[in-house]
């Protein structure tokens, strides 16, 4: 394979200039003519029935343009098809302090806040559940009537023969672990600007990782066809999972805008970010692991209780991952998992970095150290003795195609100075090790369908511009940059030449969102496919024009690194950035490349656009489904 000219090179991120100069716009930077300020009324009770809501005083306050309650948007929603248990505003019951009761759109934030004070809500408090273990025992006053004993979801898996596994073990330990709740605290608090257009359409600008799911949800809640709704993701100041499902303010802004027939912006205070939450749940792990005399793990049994908060969110996936990944990183012949996702009267948990795996992994790795101690083994050694041999399928059906862990461990041992440090540092200092892994790529779409997970369009027009239309959501992780790099690499253009239009449902095709480390894999593969198709069409046209074979043609922006058999080169002019201008001039004065052997004489250099008829200029590709890690369980 020819060496890459763009991929793997340290390039400035495509969105960096806007961010560092302040020209880039985050959702809260956006304004629209006639824009109103939205504020949400939150529940002061952890669990209560709503007897009545009176908004008349708030509506009468000068400057208030709309007041919305549950009756304005009663359709339930949720990120998982099995978990449509949230309404944008509570219909008859509030389930945590901070739950959404009503919202006001007014001509200033001050008036909106004042109006919230004028909304009268008659609450009938109910017993509230704060501890997941207590909540599971609840005989009445369940948080959702449809979820008996406040259990949102439970999983019971057993693979292999657990009894035999523990019988084979020389060392067996049972430990109890508790991991606290964490929230993402992205630097940018959530913000949404919903614009009601005079033609009856709705445009929603929102700080989200998942414009597509937001698009669907706004459609369901506002009872408008998706075609009448446009979702745009501006710059996003960090997500980490906290913007990977629809957050109440996004729908609230849309409902208010529709009701007021005006643009409405809501930006959460930092405090409200914590009420919206969707962070990593409290996880209580009871773990039993057996180790043979040889230091091989023979059996693992885990009981995991997760404190999910008041709504479903991603919860069933969190607790599934907690168990599904238990059996994967090491060679474990027998594994049993009992996982419970429990509802409590607290802000809802969700996906956060290493979704579901982190807390149980912490418990497991701590346990492995304790067992290594029992077996008088070095913590590194016990891990070495339990490695998988990839490619393989683990006992719980996870397909491992590549592994890398043995090399990783050896590198860490070497570079940490493990042998010199372990157990030899002064009091209060030490070295330790733990291994972790996670599922990337999101093999299954959240809403099951056979449609592609991602689609990109590439346009090359007579202006010699390459434009990539992608639904993928840049949230600071570099997804825009990597897609530009891939397209530039394949088409042989410099990355500055590739214009990118991203995450605007009116212009860009569907991408499922930025979660599960899926964008480079999914959207990246789509970019690769589309760019190859585009290159094929262009080169076919070039070949036809010059009467040569397609495989003798190539696209390039530099005059190096071309196979000798290439006779015709489509040369993309360099993008006229200020820095490059001098470079272009220098080249034209002293064409060093022209003197390179083997390159020029036999080759024709074409400047784009050349005088051909325009070629078909849109190309679509969809990614293949990942086989990296397909789950065995639904």
């Amino acid at each position: 394979m020819a060496p890459h000219s763009v991929i793997g090179k340290p390039l400035p991120m495509t969105d960096a200039p806007g961010k560092v100069t302040g020209l880039g716009k985050y959702a809260d930077d956006l304004v629209a003519p006639g824009m109103l300020f939205g504020k949400i009324l939150h529940s002061p009770h952890a669990h209560a029935r709503i007897r009545a809501i009176n908004t008349s005083k708030a509506e009468a306050l000068p400057g208030v343009k709309a007041v919305a309650t549950g009756r304005d948007a009663p359709n339930p929603y949720g990120i998982l098809p099995i978990g449509h248990d949230e309404c944008v505003f509570a219909l008859d019951r509030v389930r945590y302090i901070g739950d959404n009761v009503a919202a006001v759109a007014a001509t200033s934030a001050e008036i909106a806040e004042e109006a919230l004070e004028l909304i009268e809500v008659d609450y009938d408090p109910l017993p509230a559940w704060f501890d997941p273990l207590e909540s599971m025992k609840a005989a009445a006053d369940w948080i959702h009537e449809s979820k008996p004993h406040n259990i949102e979801k439970e999983y019971h898996h057993e693979f292999g023969n657990l009894e035999q596994g523990f019988a084979n073990a020389t060392f067996v330990r049972e430990e109890h672990y508790y991991a606290a709740e964490v929230t993402h605290a992205a630097m940018e608090p959530h913000s949404t600007l919903a614009i009601w257009e005079p033609n009856g359409r709705l445009t929603v600008h929102s700080s989200t990782q998942v414009p597509y799911y937001l698009h669907r949800t706004v459609s369901e809640v506002c009872e408008m066809p998706m075609s009448q709704i446009r979702v745009i993701k501006p710059l996003v100041g960090g997500g980490f999972g906290g913007k990977s499902e629809v957050i109440p303010l996004e729908v609230a802004a849309a409902v208010l805008a529709k009701k007021a027939k005006r643009p409405v912006k809501i930006t959460y205070t930092r405090e409200e970010v914590f009420y919206a939450h969707r962070g990593r749940p409290i996880t209580i792990v009871d773990l039993k692991v057996g180790l043979t005399r040889e230091g091989k793990i023979s059996a693992v049994a885990a009981r995991v209780v997760q404190d999910g908060g008041a709504y479903c969110g991603y919860g069933p996936v969190t607790v599934l991952y907690s168990g599904a990944l238990l059996g994967a990183i090491y060679d474990i012949p027998n594994v049993k998992y009992d996982g419970y996702r429990v509802l409590t009267n607290k802000p809802a948990c969700g996906a956060m970095r290493g979704h579901g795996t982190v807390n149980v992994r912490f418990a497991f790795e701590a346990m492995l150290d304790a067992l290594a101690h029992d077996a008088r083994l070095d913590p590194v050694e016990v891990r070495r003795r339990n490695l998988l041999r990839a490619p393989c399928i683990t006992v719980n059906g996870l397909r491992v195609t590549s592994y890398g862990l043995p090399e990783c461990i050896e590198r860490v041992v070497e570079r940490s100075g493990w042998a010199q440090k372990k157990g030899k540092l002064p009091y209060g200092r030490g070295v330790g090790m733990a291994c972790s892994h996670y599922v990337s790529g999101a093999a299954n779409p959240i809403i099951r369908s056979n449609m592609p997970h991602t689609t990109v369009h590439i346009k090359v027009d007579r202006d010699a511009a390459v434009t990539l239309y992608t639904g993928a959501s840049e949230i600071g992780q570099g997804s825009d940059t990597i897609q530009v790099q891939i397209v530039a690499e394949v088409l042989g253009v410099r990355p500055e030449r590739v214009k990118l239009v991203a995450a605007d449902t009116e212009l860009t095709p569907v991408d499922l969102g930025s979660y599960s480390s899926r964008v480079t894999f999914m959207a990246g593969n789509a970019c690769l496919e589309a760019a190859k198709q585009m290159r094929g069409q262009i080169l076919a046209a070039v070949a036809k024009k010059f009467g040569c074979e397609t495989r003798a043609c190539a696209c390039a922006s530099t005059k190096r690194r071309l196979r000798r058999s290439i006779s015709t080169v489509l040369w993309w002019p360099r993008a006229p950035t200020p820095r490059r201008k001098t470079l272009v001039a220098a080249i034209s004065r002293a064409p060093a490349w022209a003197r390179l052997p083997l390159t020029v004489t036999a080759r024709r250099w074409l400047r784009f656009p050349w005088t051909l008829r325009p070629v078909a200029c849109t190309s679509t590709a969809s990614s293949r489904r990942t086989t990296a890690a397909r789950r065995s369980t639904p």
Partner: protein, 331 residues
């Protein structure tokens, strides 16, 4: 979070400011740097009709030499000025040491010495948004009748959370207050009332105009240590200031130890002066004084950090500060 709608008055003289305060009574709040007042206004802890912005009052600015070699610090002297003052660095290092730890550079640029001496007391149950407090039902200090720190009690335990005050206590500083009846000077120790609700001896119609540092404490060795969650910005959760005068033979001639953030007032550790004067350094003596410091402190559940931890940190800081001041001179 929005600010309450207040009128901003900008007096240019002390007399004008006093008149505004007297005219508006409890409806007026003084604002200088705003680093304490503004977040509290956003949390709707108070909603004054008038904000009296004293920044234009020139005479409240700057560091000058006063009668009898004392140093006068105007109430509007910024914390950044204090940190950068060569005079203070040379003569009153403990104050520089403390001021350098207040919040972050941005807040020190805006925040003033007078403001730092008049901070609101702080508590986990008080420094919260309007919504949060409403959901809780308020507390003794604001909108309620229950103290969540000491339920059943009728006293507010909100913690004094300033850094400059303990340092100034160890320098025997005096505070000058101006009101309708003219000027008065008060030893700083008497300025603090050790009551979370009524924290300072300042009338509604008065303002702090200056701080005086006596000549006799100039040149004392001194250092300040504080506990906070984020070292870049936070209020103290415990703090200890120490000044010592040690003669050539290593005998202590004068000593002050003050603690902060563990009571509703910054407090001098009384035993410290008695026990240390006339003594040479010994680890045992330092331990004993450190123990006296934690007996003076009464940390309660006013912050996210536990009282036990904060007490132990008072002991540690007292020991460390005494050792450093004694052995190394000015740190």
């Amino acid at each position: 979070m929005t600010m309450p709608a207040s009128r901003v008055a900008r007096p240019s003289t002390i007399e004008e400011a006093v008149r505004l305060l007297a005219d508006n009574g409890p409806e007026a709040v003084i604002i200088a740097g705003g680093t304490d007042v503004v977040p509290n206004l956003q949390m709707k802890l108070f909603a004054p009709r008038v904000l009296v912005d004293i920044k234009p009052i020139r005479v409240l600015q700057g560091i000058t030499i006063a009668a009898a070699g004392a140093l006068r610090l105007g109430a509007l002297t910024t914390l950044t000025e204090i940190v950068g003052s060569p005079l203070l660095q040379a003569s009153y290092p403990v104050l520089v040491s403390a001021a350098a730890t207040i919040a972050g550079p941005l807040q020190r640029n805006m925040g003033t010495l007078g403001g730092n001496l008049c901070l609101e007391t702080r508590c986990l149950w008080y420094n919260q948004s309007h919504f949060w407090r409403k959901a809780l039902g308020g507390c003794l200090k604001k909108d309620g009748d229950v103290c969540h720190v000491a339920p059943g009690g009728k006293r507010c335990w909100a913690a004094w959370s300033g850094d400059s005050a303990p340092a100034l206590l160890t320098l025997d500083a005096e505070v000058e207050i101006t009101g309708p009846r003219g000027r008065r000077r008060l030893p700083l120790a008497q300025f603090y009332l050790n009551d979370g609700m009524n924290r300072i001896a300042l009338g509604r119609d008065e303002l702090v105009t200056s701080v005086y540092l006596p000549a006799r404490t100039a040149g004392r060795r001194g250092i300040y240590h504080k506990l906070r969650i984020r070292d870049s910005i936070d209020y103290p959760l415990a703090g200890v200031a120490v000044t010592l005068e040690v003669d050539r033979s290593g005998v202590c001639r004068e000593a002050r130890v003050a603690i902060t953030a563990v009571n509703p007032a910054p407090l001098l550790v009384k035993e410290a002066s008695e026990w240390l004067v006339g003594q040479r350094y010994s680890a045992e003596l330092v331990d004993r004084v450190a123990h006296a410091a934690i007996r003076t402190g009464k940390p309660l559940t006013t912050s996210a950090s536990t009282p036990v931890y904060r007490r132990e940190m008072v002991r540690l800081f007292a020991r460390r500060a005494l050792e450093e001041a004694w052995k190394n001179g000015n740190a």
